[in-house]
Amino acid sequence: MDDLVKEFLVESNENLDRLDSELVKLESDPSSQELLSSIFRTIHTIKGSCGFLGLGKLERVAHAGESLLSHLRDGKITLTPELTSGLLAMVDAIRTILTEIQNTGQDGNEDYPDLIENLTRLQQSRQTMSSEQQQHSVQYESKESPAEQGTAEPKFPPVPGKIGELLVERGFVSPEDLASALQEQAHSRDATAETIRVDVHLLDRLMNLVGELVLTRNQITQFSARQSDPTFISSTQHLNLLTSELQEEVMKTRMQPISNVFDKFPRVVRDVAIGCGKQVQIEMEGKETELDKSLLEAIKDPLTHIVRNSVDHGIETPDQRVARGKRPEGHLKLRACHEGGQVVIEISDDGAGIDTVRVKNKALERGLITPQQATHMSERELLNLIFLPGFSTAEKVTNLSGRGVGMDVVKTNIDRVNGSVDLQSTPGKGTMIKIKIPLTLAIVRAVIVQSAGKRFAIPQVSIQELVRLDGDHVRMDVELVHGVPVYRMRGRLLPLVYLTQELGLRKDAHGEREQEEAINIVVLQADDHLFGLVVDEINDSEEIVVKPLSKQLRGIKVFAGATIMGDGRVALILDVVGLAQGASILAEVRDRAVTEKPVESLEKEAEKQTFLLFAGPDDARMALPLDTLARLEEFPASQVEKSGEEWVVQYRGKILPLIRLESVLEERRRRPRNAERKPQSDTSPMQVLVCHDEGQTIGLVVDQILDIVEDRADVKSPATRAGIQYAVVINEHVTELLDIPAIKRISKESCGVQIERAEVSN
């Protein structure tokens, strides 16, 4: 194929991608002249190039679009969804033609008469309103003639400057605008002059070569450490420096922002949403996150699939949403960031979520799991069943189903680049899919550690600090919490994980700890959690080339890959997150994240709150916002005294009135409670929440304090009894949120003046 055509194809395809997202953006911001001009320019360029290359059909399509766009730009017509769809259809048609050209060298047989007619109709529909209509159609005709002839006899575009002058002449733009626009154009020309197109394969080869160079450099560095020749040593140092720089620069050549993929999604979302009658708003974050081009390619399809699925199956129709108390407009969020040497991409929606019961039943029905397995599976495991091939909860006719169509393809694709897919879903609230892609192609800085005579590399990005304890500190500073070793680091307890134990290299790590003279702790961060990894030795840090593990070993979560060391031997790279999961550092957190994360990412307006969870009467789950609480206290039952009708304790030199929840809350059970009995049995201490309310201090007696959790708690339902603000879902459990003023009121009603007396004493 002609080089010129090839160039045209590459350029046009890039422009079309941009066009998609710009058109969708334009729909939400129809007045943006900047966007309009950019879109217009793109189509105009394509049309112009077609003339040169003799691609008549493509030119006619582009021309129809251009005419429509120029009307838009001049404000003759306003953007309607129909118009946007028309323009998008034009983009699709152009893309199809481009593919055709790429495959055959010709612009195909399809003439797209319907599309062109539609575009012309759209353009004329509002024109009748305009008084300038005549003038315009004339202008178009004159513009049209060179385009029409373009196929037979390529014409050159008009002499630059003319258009601008014309525009000023006719009063469309001011001379100032023209000047600034020209300046901008000149500037963009400069930018293109500084870039060249390079074949990706060339970059691949370059990257491989640099990888090998880094390995060789490492070997030479190691060798030079044993040499004494100063010239050799200084040359080695220089080589070292140059290699690092070279490597860094070469890596940069392959990096591309994730926006290259993300920017396609507004269009995808729009199309799918219109197709199934939904309203979806898309939000993107971290578009500038860079990752290797080949990885970008690898995740493009899976991501598109997930986004499509989210809109198609996840987000409900506006009616359903309103019925469920949500905004009619669904929210889809894409987020990308670098985390622990990986690229993390999150796709979350605030849709219906996944019904795990249905997932389970379907999996049983399809024989993907056994009933025994099913009973032991956690929510999380159940969710991940949808990644199994052949799994789909879709009763396909309805289309509104759980997800699952083709999710195995997503997983396979992500697996191929050694990434992982994780799914979290809260029924009724939404689903979040988290994709992690390790930087398999990258060269990373890693700390080399040794345990049981084996070397392992730990990516430096996950390492917070290194701690070495020797002498007495080994025994003093490593303590046990119910048999679990922890290290007191600056006043905080750091759970310790013994690498030898995690890897099954040595059995009794605790036993040996006693005899060891020193221990080395690598403080690691996995997700948001810190933990200490105890290793035998910490060696140097080194640049390593991360190579993926073969499929036989991919199931081992604690390894992220392997690398070749300076001495030519292979060392394994530890996966910090996998390690933390293996050691259950993350298990609990992650379970919590299931309920917490999707909410967090979806509902921005609802601030996350910290709640104290406790058990109220009859084992009711109850909560109070933590900021309403002053302290948690325990009083032995013997300290409780009766003052009139009220139970009180002496507390910090004052009298603290106690309110027993069971006496103020309306009973749920039929069985009558003995309201007169003492707050709790005499032997065990009472759990009291000390709260301040309007300058008054009261103590709430609860059965048991359960936990402190963070949650948005935005699934609310009205209270079913007095003294409760409302019922919320915290950590997936329905929890009653106490209404302290109401409780005080009820308590006052039932025991009269006593509280007032307590107030005085306060």
Partner: protein
């Protein structure tokens, strides 16, 4: 239909095995291995094959034969798989043999267990029986439910 096939042969516990020559990338003497904690038993470790990291699979274990005596260093038969090069650890390398279809027979029904899925059949040579190895199956070590399901789906 006597289409000749070329096989690279090797020995494991005195049994003769063969893999199609086209699948063999190279044959190597023993290379140092880095053990992989937590790996399935049949995976012996990773080795550096000229800058490439290759997984080594102990065929003796894969075929449920007795472990190799400690003083015997295994040889590598490096084969090309869909997932890159994989090295099969064997006792001894034999010749390249050429056989026709007529000497081939399916494994006897009495051959049961895991081994059956790895051995495609045998070629009756003059003095030996050459077991024909299914290299794809031989490289498969984690026959978990997931991978089985995946395979099931890909075949249907």
């Amino acid at each position: 239909m006597a289409q000749p096939h070329q096989f690279c042969t090797f020995y494991l516990d005195k049994l003769m095995f063969g893999v199609e020559l086209q699948k063999v990338q190279e044959v190597m003497r023993h290379l140092e291995l880095t053990g992989i904690p937590l790996a399935p038993g049949v995976v012996s470790g990773l080795m550096n094959l000229r800058g490439q990291i290759v997984t080594a699979i102990d065929l003796r274990r894969r075929l449920e034969l007795a472990d190799r005596p400690e003083d015997m260093l295994p040889m590598n038969v490096v084969i090309r798989s869909a997932d890159g090069a994989v090295s099969l650890l064997v006792d001894e390398i034999g010749d390249v043999v050429e056989v026709g279809d007529e000497s081939f027979e399916r494994p006897p029904e009495t051959l049961q267990g895991k081994v059956r899925e790895v051995i495609l059949g045998v070629h009756k040579l003059d003095r030996h029986l050459m077991h024909v190895l299914d290299t794809d199956k031989a490289c498969e070590t984690v026959a978990t439910a997931t991978s089985m399901n995946r395979r099931l789906a890909s075949t249907t």
